[in-house]
Symmetry: C2
């Protein structure tokens, strides 16, 4: 394990992504976001993605520098074409468009076409909350190629849905209430980590191809098993929420991937919604109510005296503070992967 | 148990609610919706509510006939004052306002002030879906009196949140995909039913005042225990979603109940959001994708061969068909309660 400072990783990413053909400012935006996710402890969507993104540029999946184009603009709803530029770069542009539009409309929505992987979904609501707005985000695997999804519908034995995340953020003083979940019991990425470590998944997360309970990650990753929707014995709720994410992100843009199998496999569909409390009770009044409610929630005695009640996003904040101080851990395997991909675009680390 | 036909219950409700002072058309809308919920098997929000609503009129909590007023209109977001008319009547008016507005704006939102109980939350998204729109709804106990909420935050031992429901619907041929859940493990209403029957709650739903697991409904209903957010070992997800419903419905209208404790105890806050797929990929294209995806989901082999995979809302549809044929069951206790309250407003049944 190596520990890196923010600036160090930023410089590395900046070099690599500009070498990939990203404009200087877009390379900076992209590595900023990956480093932020790593800082917050969301390692699956942090700097460990550098290698994958480089590979996708080399494979022609990503088109660095492609503009974001507004294809339809219907009052408060915009359909944006991401042109397969880096998903994070384009989703942040879409977020900024929304943040401007919502001042006029009270609520606003961006539906994305032809988007590459958007990374940590909570980023976009978080940015909206930092602008005093409520942010909501939904994503899924690209529609047509959802057939790669390994999450079973409730009561089903076959994978039919991707691990469709839902995220939201609400302004709350100097750090938003920030929530970002997958509607599956466990993301595939974590199953891979368990498998590599020779470990079992928690009970109640997986089934094999016959629909029987299993804890073996291989049943899903190498077999025809499936991941259950989250919720335990109330998995019908996780299933319903997984479908919500699919309905809002996967289908609203239409079937935008056509027969582009290569891209379909690596891309996301996403939809962002924002609400301006100024259009309702006023931003100041809203934030005062949230502050009051936050204090009330946190006044609950904890079940475990050593673990006080926290709000969604507080864990990420404290991880961020720790890692700013102690550095961001990158495993040797991940570091080798970054070096290898850097070399492929002529950057030696 | 008695079984009633739709027309019979409709006539009964029509008489009772007009006797309460509701205008004829509003009485019809209200009893229509209660009967529809009973037909769909959502008995907790069906005709069993008649007695409660009569009582609330007599207590001055409900103001029959109060108009719905648009207090703020900011492009795609409207704040509506429900004036404490029957919650269902006003929420349906708000739904119709939204359905008209969203044709211009692509996405639209209604935030409610001074609303009485809105009944089955799925009603409003369902009506939007029947108009070819996507509907989303969030509700909670009235903000200021949320302190009556008996759901614990994740990791907490004290009730802090109400059983905040989230519902959505999406057009899908002749019956929408229709999802309506509480973010708690179990609604208080069901705990009361278990308690009356001398039964225990399922394991993992409740804690006592010391934060220890319990299955005794009395620990919550008569003690200082709490209901856990839904999600089992991933209850942090149910907690996050409960807060989302609170943030969107409870706080956007501001603190609209002031010091009106009497009303605060019986009322809901709600926020509706609708999206018009016509503003995105087009309504026809959207519905074709949903139909295709629905078939794909349902093609999953079931875990239990006797229980094929269904979409959210299908169970309610089949219950509706059964009850249209066989009648709506009303227990003797419920029927006596309806008769008693009918008599209070001069209607003898």
């Amino acid at each position: 394990m190596r520990y890196f400072q923010v600036d160090e990783l930023h410089d590395i990413g900046q070099k690599i992504f500009t070498a990939c053909g990203a404009p200087v400012e877009e390379a900076a935006v992209l590595i900023d976001e990956l480093v932020a996710s790593s800082l917050m402890g969301v390692d699956s969507h942090g700097v460990s993605s550098i290698g994958q993104y480089v590979q996708e540029v080399r494979d022609g999946i990503v088109v660095p520098g492609a503009p974001l184009e507004v294809m339809r603009d219907h009052g408060a709803l915009m359909v944006v074409d991401c042109g397969f530029n880096f998903g994070i770069v384009q989703a942040l542009k879409a977020t900024d468009l929304l943040a401007a539009r919502v001042r006029e409309t009270g609520i606003a929505c961006a539906v994305a076409e032809r988007s590459h992987h958007v990374g940590r979904l909570g980023t976009y609501p978080q940015r909206l909350a930092e602008a005093g707005l409520i942010g909501l985000a939904f994503a899924c695997g690209s529609t047509k190629y959802r057939r790669l999804g390994r999450v079973a519908p409730w009561g089903g034995a076959g994978g039919r849905i991707s691990t469709n995340p839902i995220a939201y953020a609400v302004p709350n003083g100097d750090w938003p209430i920030l929530f970002d979940m997958t509607t599956a019991s466990i993301p595939q990425q974590k199953l891979k980590i368990l498998q590599r470590a020779g470990k079992q998944a928690p009970a109640g997360y997986l089934i094999d191809g016959q629909g029987r309970d299993t804890q073996d990650p291989g049943a899903v990753l190498d077999g025809d098993g499936a991941i259950l929707p989250f919720g335990g014995i109330q998995g019908h709720k996780g299933y319903g929420l997984a479908l919500l994410a699919e309905m809002l992100s996967g289908f609203l843009p239409g079937d935008t991937f056509g027969d582009d199998v290569k891209r379909g496999r690596y891309c996301n569909a996403f939809t962002l919604i924002t609400i301006d409390p100024e259009a309702s009770c006023g931003r100041g009044a809203y934030e005062a109510l949230i502050a009051d409610y936050s204090a009330y929630i946190k006044s609950s005695p904890p079940r475990d005296p050593k673990r006080p009640v926290i709000l969604p996003g507080e864990l990420e904040r404290s991880t961020m503070e720790e890692r700013r101080r102690d550095g961001i851990p990158v495993s040797s395997e991940e570091w080798e992967n970054i070096r290898k991909h850097a070399a492929l675009v002529g950057v030696s680390l």
